[in-house]
Symmetry: C2
Subunit: 222 residues, 2 copies
DNA sequence: TATTGATAAGAGCCATGGGCTTTCCAGTTC
DNA sequence: GAACTGGAAAGCCCATGGCTCTTATCAATA
């Protein structure tokens, strides 16, 4: 609408808008994702707002909607990003463990309790994701993917380390070890004074040894 | 103030305020607590507002502040209430298990996966509490109490079932079993299609047997 | 039965949140 | 070097949230 728009002269009351730098889309997206992770970790789900995220990222509030559909989409992207970071770090640990299958399995398991996976902020972020699972179907789908992928990977490593284990038993063992890890992880995050990381590693190692050395091949005949 | 107050005749423009019944403070408090639990379970932390809670409880929004300091205090009271319900249900299971120490321990462990403890809504509520742990010190304190109490109880049952287990080992065993339970619980809540409750019970039983039958008393000499 | 005082309802206030729009600026192109 | 393009900053609008405050209602008591 071509109205003449008043056109105030700005002789001295200049709005003084902040200068800014132009960045690539990838850079901004990544900054927003990392800011979201920090926000979830430090302030919880309730404190994770558009303004808080953008303040952490050092950008104005309008940018979030410019790069993402909304705050929900950004949280989902953060979930995916964090999940990939974790699984790639674990995979790296496996690669660095060398050729021995047992070493590789142990490296995979213990990497949950070593940097960069064992990071208080990361744990807190993860709990936030869990709490969104019920109300956000996309979060739930991403969780199913992440969990399923991790369990399958662990299953493969298990069968490589102990080929005599039958498939169904390997599945159960992977589920149990994952549950043990998650439970220890959870409590470490909620109250790190309950036990130490070394103690957690000890429990995990004992669980792995039990699963591997269990040679009783009494097939489940129910 | 004895003003003559206009005294509108209300011939037909009556405000029509809703009728209500008078209830005891305990009744209202309990109704609000149960509404909060339902709200947390169904709508998550983000959807748990004063209005939502009071709608579930069937009362007006003003009543929440009348009976509790605020919504945070109500959530804390709900946490305490849920925690007591769970622990009393587990204690009941132990009592009903009879005198055999091993039966009692197993009853305690398996009660986590039986009603009323195994309730999808309860699991979701619990995750909500976990997600509040970081930002709410009182929630964190309540968690520490609840977790510590459960672990100590499990430790006692463990040592009654297997007196040869030394104290430090019993502590570790209790922590590990609790972690296993929490991890299985968590995943059952997030995605119940991953495994069945019977499978979870099987894993838990195997864990208990391992802990009990482990007679190697090689004391930890690091 | 009239009084009284606590319980409950519901509107309202202020703050915050999310998303949208407008305005502005930095790098590009002709 | 001037117009152009699109990224970026603020401000705006409306909805929601927590909490308060006033008013209405009920039940027990004198």
């Amino acid at each position: 609408m071509g109205g003449e728009k008043m056109m105030d002269h700005k002789v001295e009351g200049r709005p003084e808008r902040a200068r800014f730098v132009r960045e690539s889309a990838d850079f901004r997206r990544q900054a927003l994702i990392e800011a979201t992770a920090r926000c979830l970790a430090e302030k919880g789900v309730g404190g994770t707002s558009v303004r808080a995220i953008c303040a952490y990222a050092g950008v104005s509030a309008g940018l979030l909607t410019h790069y993402f559909e909304g705050v929900d989409a950004l949280i989902l992207a953060t979930y995916r990003d964090v999940g990939e970071k974790v699984s790639s770090a674990m995979e790296r640990a496996v690669t660095e463990a060398g050729p021995d299958p047992r070493d590789r399995l142990w490296a995979y398991l213990r990497s949950n309790f070593q940097p960069p996976v064992l990071d208080p902020n990361l744990l807190a972020t993860w709990i936030s994701f869990w709490s969104l699972n019920k109300t956000n179907p996309e979060i739930a789908a991403t969780h199913a993917e992440t969990y399923g992928g991790g369990r399958e990977r662990m299953e493969v490593l298990l069968r490589e380390a102990a080929p005599q284990i039958p498939r169904p038993a390997a599945r159960i063992a992977a589920i149990a070890l994952t549950a043990l890890i998650d439970g220890l992880w959870l409590e470490l995050c909620l109250d790190s004074s309950t036990f130490t990381i070394d103690e957690a590693l000890g429990m995990l190692e004992e669980g792995m040894n039990y699963v591997l050395q269990k040679p009783r091949s009494e097939t489940v005949d129910q």
